[in-house]
């Protein structure tokens, strides 16, 4: 089985997801005894192809202005003719927000089996298995691809760390863009930045962060008061923004803001990976949650399993006492 890794880029730069997918690709290629090939489709492909060739023995590069952004329609149309005559394969990509648009449709048109957002890969009896999470990200599951000869796997960010080795001098095969002249039905217009607010949680040293567990009608005064006493700011996970309890610029996570405070106090946050991806830089993570199995306890250093509305007021009292 050949292993292909699709390079992802934005604003003419390769993204880290590319190197992580390559890391996963090398691991599974070693287990299966197969070769790794990077695929890079971009508007200006040479520099990216050269970078990839320093890490990977074989690179296929395709240049076309329509690959300037990660337009899933253009990528899908191009990847089918590139991959269809290359025998059995596993195609690996990052599970980024751009690739979420691409991978499912691509698997259909390639007649491939698909597993998304995988954080582990194994080989058993010569066949690949993928490990991912289900049920609110609280349960781990291993999936097989039956007897599929074409497999597409997307990988969770941060699961396959990679250090650039600069140890290969791979061959770059440049092929002509297979895209025809017919117009795309999906068109990129422009990038937009998120709205900025009156607090900048990215630069805060102390963050009190709120999640779904604070309830549908939270008593915000309790949390504002704790944040004040601690000298910190309020932040939150996605459900709090979805419910319009706090504005978007308070949201921590991969689709929100990445933070690196000295102390991150997570209240009622389950710890879905999108959230955890935004707090990796915090030296101290403390979680209070009533669910002992909440994933947040696996990234926190300290935790309390209990009712937030009992623990938080008590905590504020104790902090006040220590301050005086």
């Amino acid at each position: 089985m050949n292993i292909f890794v699709l390079a992802e880029h934005r604003n003419k730069q390769l993204r880290d997801t590319t190197w992580e997918a390559l890391s996963a690709g090398k691991k599974i290629a070693a287990d299966l005894g197969s070769d790794v090939t990077c695929l890079v489709l971009a508007d200006a492909v040479d520099e990216m192809a050269d970078k990839l060739a320093k890490e990977c023995p074989k690179v296929i590069a395709v240049e076309d202005a329509r690959f300037a952004t990660f337009n899933s329609e253009a990528f899908m149309k191009a990847l089918v003719p590139i991959l269809k005559d290359r025998g059995p394969f596993i195609l690996l990509m990052g599970n980024s927000n751009a690739i979420i648009d691409l991978a499912p449709g691509l698997s259909v048109v390639l007649d491939a089996a698909l597993a998304t957002d995988c954080f582990g890969l194994e080989v058993q009896d010569g066949k690949p298995l993928a490990v991912r999470q289900v049920y609110s990200y609280k349960v781990n599951t291993t999936v097989s691809f039956k007897d599929s000869e074409r497999i597409v796997i997307t990988l969770r960010a941060g699961s396959f760390p990679y250090a650039l080795a600069d140890s290969e001098s791979g061959a770059v095969e440049k092929i002509a863009s297979p895209l025809g002249d017919e117009p795309l039905k999906k068109r990129f217009l422009n990038y937009l930045e998120a709205e900025k607010g009156d607090v900048d949680i990215a630069s805060a040293d102390i963050i009190v962060s709120l999640g779904r567990g604070i309830g549908d009608e939270p008593d915000m005064e309790v949390f504002e008061s704790l944040a004040d006493t601690m000298g910190g700011v309020l932040a939150c996970s996605r459900p709090i923004v979805d419910k319009s309890i706090l504005p978007k610029y308070h949201q921590v996570g991969t689709s929100g803001i990445e933070v690196k405070p000295k102390v991150y106090l997570a209240l009622g946050i389950s710890g879905a990976f999108q959230h955890v991806g935004g707090i990796k830089g915090s030296p101290l993570i403390v979680a209070i949650n009533k669910d002992a199995r909440a994933p947040i306890f696996r990234v926190a250093q300290y935790g309390i399993v209990g009712d937030i509305y009992e623990v938080v007021p008590a905590l504020e009292e104790k902090i006040k006492a220590l301050k005086s």
Partner: protein, 263 residues
């Protein structure tokens, strides 16, 4: 505009205590309550908002066991015009691909300018249905849509990228849009609205009605298969501070003070 909304009936696992079922390939579901997938609530709301602006018809459809009728009724109360319930025992254990195939079969012969889904479902966390459906129907797709505008037979939308960045995209119709949570504010459903739709008929479509056979659905029609499921070990990671709320809070306050968590 003819809008078809695909919905999923999911167990509420976010706050529940979960256990692995005998056989080790799924969780115990008997004690879990089921509801409309969180993401899909924003999809049905958006469909109704678009209909209210442009006119047209909203159709909801699900592939789910009998109990899911409750979700379809709720969707009608939220403003959908008609609902279809696809189910047959043979469809049990369908993966994303087999489910998308069922939905595509249902959609392909019906008028559809817009097909809406949630980007993810809280049970399998796969995010596959929208993209697969679009490829099966031969139309474009965008996921994680956090703002949608429909004008002159085109759709403009904003989709989330990472780190607070968005991209604006334009698509021709027909197309599939998988929505992000927080796209809109799902309306409150009054008891009156629920009563109004209580007697509407919801057709149930079995395997033959959608034109597929048993080899194309369920585990036979699936391309991936669950080998095993397990709960990550408890207690791995954080040091859990024991004791009553008072005591635990006192200990935590000391830790915070020590680590610079009191500014």
């Amino acid at each position: 505009m003819d809008i078809i909304v695909c919905m999923k009936w999911t167990p509420d696992t976010s706050e529940a205590d979960l256990a692995i079922a005998g056989g080790g390939k799924d969780i115990k579901k008997d004690d879990l309550s089921y509801d409309m997938n969180d993401w899909d609530r924003f999809a049905i709301e958006e469909a109704v908002l678009i209909k209210e602006k442009t006119g047209g018809k909203v159709t909801v459809v699900t592939v789910a066991p009998e109990d899911a009728e409750e979700m379809l009724r709720e969707s009608l109360a939220r403003g959908a015009d008609e609902a279809f319930h696809i189910w047959d025992e043979a469809m049990e254990a369908s993966d994303g691909f087999a489910t998308a195939r069922l939905l595509a079969q249902f959609i392909k012969d019906r008028p559809h300018d817009l097909v809406l889904t949630g980007t993810l479902a809280d049970d399998n966390c796969s995010g596959q249905t929208g993209g697969m459906l679009a490829a099966m129907l031969g139309i474009p797709v965008a996921t994680l849509a956090s703002g949608i505008e429909v004008e002159n037979g085109k759709v403009k939308l904003r989709r989330e990228l990472e780190g607070g960045l968005y991209e604006a995209i334009e698509m021709d119709v027909p197309c599939v849009i998988s929505v992000a949570t927080g796209l809109n504010e799902p309306r409150f459903v009054s008891i009156r609205a629920v009563r109004k739709v209580a007697s509407l008929e919801i057709p149930v479509l079995e395997l033959g009605d959608v034109g597929l056979d048993a080899s194309q659905v369920g585990s036979d029609g699936s391309r991936v298969e669950t080998v095993s499921m397990s709960l990550p070990p408890e207690g791995e990671g954080a040091e859990i501070i024991k004791g009553k709320a008072e005591e635990a809070a006192a200990r935590l306050a000391e830790i915070l003070k020590e680590k610079g968590g009191i500014g």
